[in-house]
Symmetry: C2
């Protein structure tokens, strides 16, 4: 395999030009510039075949997903994405596969104006590692810690959908191209970039300003990640399981999927009660559901309520399928 040929062909050409990229792909390294008054935000995540996605996953979906899961980490800090690097390990130089992968990757990158500034394509078992770079106003950025007693706990989207999609894929055997909104949730998670920025005082379409006191993205499952979020501030909560979209009568999700399924890449965050009115104005512009789960309190655990009654499910934690 001539790695340079693949890189040149699919990962160099169709790039949006950014003025903050002085030197892009093609030299030993890239050179970028971050404006004065901003800090740099950096995250990295790998997807490995058989651990994070099923063999036979469409290349276009994988191209989207490997960038989306990283953008979700930036979103959870309230950062604006700027640039990324891509390390792609391929068992063979399947040009059609790479074309579809790059189409999925750049479709998402272009939506947020993100430049691919570095890459390494090597022969090996199928896996992808992306490193993303974003910016926040100097001194800002929403951490996992920072919540206070009385803060309102919210989550975007419909947690459990990706796990339900994965269950459908597993049940489908060789029929990997299952047509389903749930499968799409697993293959094409929507990183909450605009929403995350809005929660770092960067709402685009309103003069209202809100900063979340704490934020995390849901990658390992709603229960474990909301527990991490509140635990980072030594808090807990009783949260309303039946408030979630996945719990409604027309939903196909199980409680297990909602609480312990992973790979949702939704945002879970805390809003000070004094900011609730401003927050509601901002949310009016969002294209995803937002659910108020409850109120942070002095507690060591996160527990769940249905109709105000404790839910007595089996506790378990999500482990990436294997």
């Amino acid at each position: 395999m001539d790695e340079f040929e693949i890189i040149d062909r699919f990962f160099s050409a169709p790039q949006r030009k950014r003025r903050d990229v002085r030197l892009g792909i093609g030299d030993d390294a890239a050179i970028t510039r971050i404006p004065a008054g901003f800090d740099l935000v950096i995250a990295t995540d790998s997807l490995v075949e058989g651990t994070h996605f099923l063999p036979g996953t469409p290349a276009h979906a994988l191209g989207h997903r490997c960038l989306a899961v990283n953008l979700s980490d930036l979103a959870a800090m309230g950062a604006k994405p700027l640039w990324c690097t891509l390390a792609l390990s391929l068992p063979d130089a399947d040009v059609d596969w790479v074309q579809r992968f790059s189409a999925g990757f750049f479709a998402l990158a272009d939506r947020f104006g993100i430049a691919l500034i570095g890459g390494d394509t090597v022969r090996g078992p199928l896996s992808v590692t992306v490193t993303v770079h974003g910016q926040v106003q100097a001194g800002s950025g929403v951490c996992r810690s920072g919540a206070n007693v009385g803060d309102l706990v919210y989550v975007t989207g419909s947690p459990g959908s990706a796990a339900a999609g994965l269950d459908l894929l597993r049940a489908s055997g060789d029929q990997i191209d299952v047509e389903s909104d749930l499968v799409r949730s697993f293959w094409y998670p929507e990183p909450r970039v605009i929403e995350g920025m809005a929660l770092n005082n960067l709402a685009q379409s309103t003069a209202t300003s809100v900063t979340a006191s704490a934020m995390i993205d849901i990658s390992d499952g709603l229960h474990i990640d909301v527990s991490r979020l509140l635990g980072a501030s030594d808090l807990g909560a009783e949260l309303a399981l039946d408030a979630l979209p996945g719990f409604q009568a027309d939903s196909a999700l199980t409680v297990e999927q909602i609480l312990f399924g992973g790979d949702d890449y939704e945002l879970c965050f805390c809003v000070p009660p004094a900011a609730e009115a401003a927050f509601k104005k901002i949310v009016a512009d969002w294209h995803c559901p937002v659910t108020k789960l409850g109120v942070a309190r002095k507690d060591v655990v996160v527990s769940w309520l249905i109709n105000g009654t404790p839910y007595d499910g089996n506790d378990s934690t999500f482990v990436h399928f294997e």
Copy 2:
């Protein structure tokens, strides 16, 4: 495998604090700051077992090597390294292995004061992807292009040593722990960080200032990479093969290893003839050999001379062993 436990244990604790790292490992992303007047330099490289290193490679050596090959890319731009991220795919959670790997990684990181600011440890075939970040004075940075007719062409170290080390390892069968300076060259390449910075007007121990007109690091083999370097400026050269350390009578290297072996991670660069005197002063402080290979000229190829006579070897190009 509980990936968080491994990350927490080996990749979070022993870090040197850097004032430009506002938020390190442990949240959804890291937050860093780059001072006004500097640009950011970013490179990423993957090492995959069976493609870039032999099964059985000592974990300590791999920890060093995965960072070294990336630092070499920064060095080739003349950048000062700052921070890195590490994505590690492991077939199983072998704690002893990870301990040795992290020891090799941090031994090198600490030498240059580099902070690990992000990581992802996942289950999968053994591979490592590192992304490194460095800084250069705004508007500076040495590219591959930029050489002019008459520029002097230099290379550091002894190209071919790593390839000779790899050949020894291959010949050794199960005896993977071969004691040899050549094997050490392959396992523990020395990134030319100080030398690269000096060639970007950042010599540390002298008032003399030199900026290379063009630079590359030798990863795929001396011949192909010096051809890339001069080719980026539409130049070529006749270069003195017999000037190289590996060609001397006491050397065990073959011409094939010297010209077409890869993985050396030496710097190859061009110096304007007017800067030769200043360059010689700077080189006096370096701890590695530096060889003047010849002079860039209007040509479409790089050819090699022995005793001033064209070397008529077989042309071939290095492909990572497989």
